[in-house]
């Protein structure tokens, strides 16, 4: 986090309600996303007690898995999710051939799942793992099977690990990029206290509202873990009763379990839709559409994979896939940061506090400067010079390429930095679009500049049959752990 965010946290605390951070959204918010609120059965691993899901804020569907009746729950949930996903399979478009890529058919739009936070996203990943290897019963359509439900959940959860993907939205994570609160990140990971700071009820401070939202019986926290107080108060006796009852008695207990699950999830459901509407109301940055296009392509590719009878995702990536994936994850995070800096005032401002960006005034230009030929057959090159003076604390090294929101395609290299007591003078050499007159701003112009987006060259990885023997036996990893941060 930056000092700017910290300052907004301080202000939030002083003014008793959340303060804005970025005012522009970088992820896509669909017109009809599907909100999914999973609730795990206490003491089990990835075994839901209930899931509230649906695309209509006014009509949540509750899928209940009363102990002893998991299969019905899974078939119903699978049907619900498949109906939603398959509804995107009707409209296609043709993407014309480009370069080496042949012409391709693509879906027009993609489904979008929404969860309240990281814990729920991880839960969907584990649930996907638990379900995707289930056999498809003989004579049934694999496309509506529980196994495919597992594959899809895995697909969404894995895409969510890419900073650029909007296929699975994490509400508390996104809200935290737009608001600073007077509480810690740990507290912001829960939807109710976070929303309490953003929209405190009249007459309450954000802090008071967040404290009020802590009462688990009045405001059950978002899942997937059931709050232990709620479990003791509402569920423990029902679990015991369900164990021993049959027929009508059981029906009665199941109805009461349904009621308890609805009571637990409904407040979060309402709050989550309010959060979705709030995020949708933020204007998107320009590159948001392109990122969603990538998501649609991924969705198309995975739909094709499943339709062709492709296998579920493996338990472990082999070393090559793992390396590729890591490179892609890093690239996604870096390219997002770079494009946001050029499109979002706040991100640029944050970079100014860290020294990765600066705002300055053009004090001198040499638009017609050329450099001597680099080789025997080359001609002199046009390389205009610009001198910029700034009082931002710059932390840049020579040769670093910079770009600014005034024209992101113009890249200039840092040639020289001169520090004086009050400000810094930076000499820049224009490297791209050098013949374009707009690439050399007039003296007196104010410029915002930050590091230019890196060109991403995908590293070369060996093919699967050329993996050296030292890396072929992946084996099982012992459960790792991170030493606590306080142990230093």
């Amino acid at each position: 986090m930056s000092l700017l965010t910290t300052l907004q946290q301080l202000r939030a605390s002083e003014r008793h309600h959340a303060q804005p951070l970025s005012r522009l959204r970088y992820l896509h918010v669909a017109d009809q996303p599907m909100l999914i609120l999973p609730l795990n059965r206490p003491g089990e691993t990835a075994r839901p007690l209930a899931v509230m899901a649906g695309c209509d804020p006014g009509h949540p569907r509750l899928f209940l898995a009363p102990p002893g009746d998991d299969d019905r729950f899974l078939t119903d949930l699978a049907e619900h999710l498949h109906t939603y996903i398959h509804s995107f399979h009707y409209a296609t478009r043709i993407r014309p051939a480009k370069g080496e890529q042949p012409e391709r058919r693509e879906y027009l739009d993609a489904p979008q799942l929404v969860v309240t936070g990281t814990a729920s996203a991880y839960y969907l990943k584990m649930l996907g793992r638990a379900l995707r290897y289930r056999p498809v019963p003989e004579g049934t359509d694999p496309a509506t099977s529980v196994s495919h439900l597992g594959c899809w959940l895995t697909f969404f959860a894995e895409r969510a690990e890419y900073a650029t993907s909007s296929l699975l939205l994490n509400l508390t994570g996104l809200l935290s990029t737009h608001w600073a609160t007077g509480q810690s990140i740990l507290d912001n990971a829960h939807l109710a206290p976070l929303m309490a700071w953003i929209f405190p009820p009249p007459g309450l401070t954000g802090h008071q509202a967040a404290l009020a939202a802590e009462n688990p019986l009045q405001h059950p926290p978002d899942g997937p873990t059931v709050d232990p107080s709620f479990e003791s108060a509402r569920l423990s006796s029902l679990f015991a009763a369900l164990k021993s009852s049959r027929g009508v008695r059981r029906q009665h207990h199941v109805a009461r379990l349904q009621e308890a699950a609805e009571d637990y999830l409904q407040p979060t459901w309402d709050l989550a839709w309010k959060a979705i509407a709030t995020l949708r109301g933020l204007p998107p940055v320009r590159s948001t559409a392109a990122r969603w296009d990538t998501d649609i392509r991924r969705f198309t590719a995975y739909s094709d994979h499943l339709a062709a009878g492709g296998p579920p995702q493996p338990k472990h990536d082999d070393v090559v896939s793992a390396a590729i994936r890591l490179a892609e994850l890093e690239h996604a995070a870096a390219s997002l940061a770079a494009s946001r800096a050029l499109e979002d005032d706040f991100v640029m401002a944050e970079r100014r506090t860290t020294g990765e960006a600066f705002r300055g005034t053009v004090t001198h230009t040499e638009p017609d400067r050329t450099i001597p030929p680099q080789g025997p057959r080359q001609r002199p090159k046009r390389r205009p010079l610009i001198t910029v003076r700034t009082n931002d604390p710059v932390r840049l090294e020579p040769n670093r390429l910079l770009a600014g929101p005034h024209d992101p395609a113009v890249h200039m290299a840092v040639l020289d930095l001169t520090y004086t007591t009050d400000d810094t003078e930076i000499v820049l050499e224009v490297r791209t679009r050098t013949s374009n007159p707009s690439s050399v701003p007039a003296v007196g112009t104010t410029l915002l500049l930050t590091t230019a987006p890196d060109h991403f060259r995908r590293p070369q990885f060996p093919s699967r049959d050329q993996i050296p023997w030292t890396h072929t036996d992946t084996g099982l990893t012992a459960p790792g752990h991170e030493p606590g941060e306080d142990q230093a």
Binding site: R11, G43, Q183, A349, P479, H481, P483, D486, Q487
Partner: protein
């Protein structure tokens, strides 16, 4: 020593010290900089009772069903003389087949009063094995180990201690969280290793006191958990050396609690002044303001994750909020604003209304710069 224990006794008041267990010992390594907790823990003060009396109880964090499922899993693994466990241990530790034998110490009783007896029996069985005498035993079930915490003995109950014919003891922990595709959930595995570290230290101490090398105890914890989504057990190994070191450091610190006690005003007590001896019916009559004053003589260091390991967390949070401490904003803000205590002070440095101390010059400059950018973005300081 006796003056120390009488000093701690005064702090606690006329109640039994709150017994430590592996979980509370493991918590010692979290936020070790908090002096308030160090003193309360050394004196064996019931922090939960304090928090309830002060009106800041911590809501329960343990699921009743998860607890009973955990107990069921342990029973299943240990059923029939630990048949399932034995095959797992044979695999991981190469326990020799004919030597496999299982001794259950819970037959000596599971009440608190039986702890002494069970500890004595555990001790003699372990020393027998270490000497290579007596019947060959490979599994001690429900053993009781002893650890000295702040000068007082604490009984610990590991799930199991296994003995290998080459002479190495292993601590085995049975946990009900699943290890899926070879991966345990990070927070839970970390908790298990810390608890295991407490058992390993206790076992090391037992052997060193009898003249054996502490290296007779493996510093690798054996974790028995359900495999994937089944109830079938599997064994994993986790290196606990780091946790053992860090727990030892905290235990040593509790031994040196006198330094901290010396800084307290004389006559301070955290006694809740119960009106009777019966824990079920008694009421705490201690004046709350007076108790708060006493607590304020100890320096707390509130952190957002305190609630995971300290029952007094919500009280300290309320105090931090009242004092407008940076700590309520979480670790990243605390790191950014190192050396500044309060929100008002940080804002004062940012808007220039407060002059920085000599060691705050750089931070103040950065804050003023960030504040000017903030004003450009979001408008005036109103």
């Amino acid at each position: 020593m006796s003056s120390l224990s009488s000093r701690l006794g005064t702090l606690r008041g006329p109640v039994e010290p709150k017994p430590h267990n592996a979980r509370s010992l493991a918590a010692l390594t979290a936020n070790p900089g908090c002096r308030r907790r160090a003193i309360l823990d050394a004196a064996g003060v019931d922090k939960e009772a304090l928090a309830v009396h002060l009106g800041h109880p911590l809501p329960p964090t343990q699921s009743p069903r998860a607890l009973s499922r955990g107990a069921q899993f342990e029973a299943q693994v240990k059923d029939q003389g630990g048949a399932e466990l034995l095959s797992l241990l044979r695999d991981k530790l190469h326990l020799p087949l004919p030597e496999a034998a299982h001794t259950d110490l819970s037959v000596l009783g599971t009440s608190d009063r039986a702890m002494n007896v069970r500890h004595a029996r555990t001790r003699s069985l372990i020393l027998e094995a270490a000497h290579g005498k007596g019947a060959s035993r490979t599994m001690l079930d429900h053993p009781v180990l002893e650890l000295t915490v702040a000068g007082r003995p604490v009984f610990l109950e590991p799930d199991l201690v296994a003995f290998q014919s080459e002479g190495i003891f292993h601590v085995v922990e049975i946990k009900s969280f699943a290890v899926v595709d070879g991966q345990a959930p990070g927070d839970k595995a970390a908790g298990a290793v810390l608890q295991g570290a407490a058992y390993i230290i206790a076992l090391q101490d037992l052997l060193t006191r009898a003249g054996f090398s502490p290296e007779r105890v493996s510093t690798t914890l054996l974790l028995i958990t359900p495999r994937d989504f089944s109830r079938r057990p599997m064994a994993s190994t986790i290196d606990a050396r780091h946790q053992i070191k860090s727990l030892r450091r905290q235990l040593d610190r509790l031994e040196r609690i006198e330094d901290l006690l010396g800084q307290l005003p004389a006559g301070i007590t955290f006694d809740l002044a119960y009106d009777g001896p019966d824990a079920r019916t008694r009421t705490a009559t201690r004046d709350r303001d007076d108790l708060t004053k006493a607590l304020n003589t100890t320096e707390a260091r509130y952190r957002a994750n305190c609630r995971h390991h300290c029952q007094l967390a919500h009280f300290c949070r309320a105090q931090a909020h009242e004092g407008q401490l940076i700590d309520v904003l979480g670790s990243s803000a605390s790191e950014d604003l190192g050396g500044i205590d309060t929100i008002a002070a940080a804002l004062g440095l940012a808007d220039g209304s407060r002059a920085p101390a000599p060691d705050q010059e750089d931070l103040a400059t950065a804050l003023r710069h960030a504040e000017s950018i903030r004003n450009e973005l979001f408008g005036g300081a109103a």
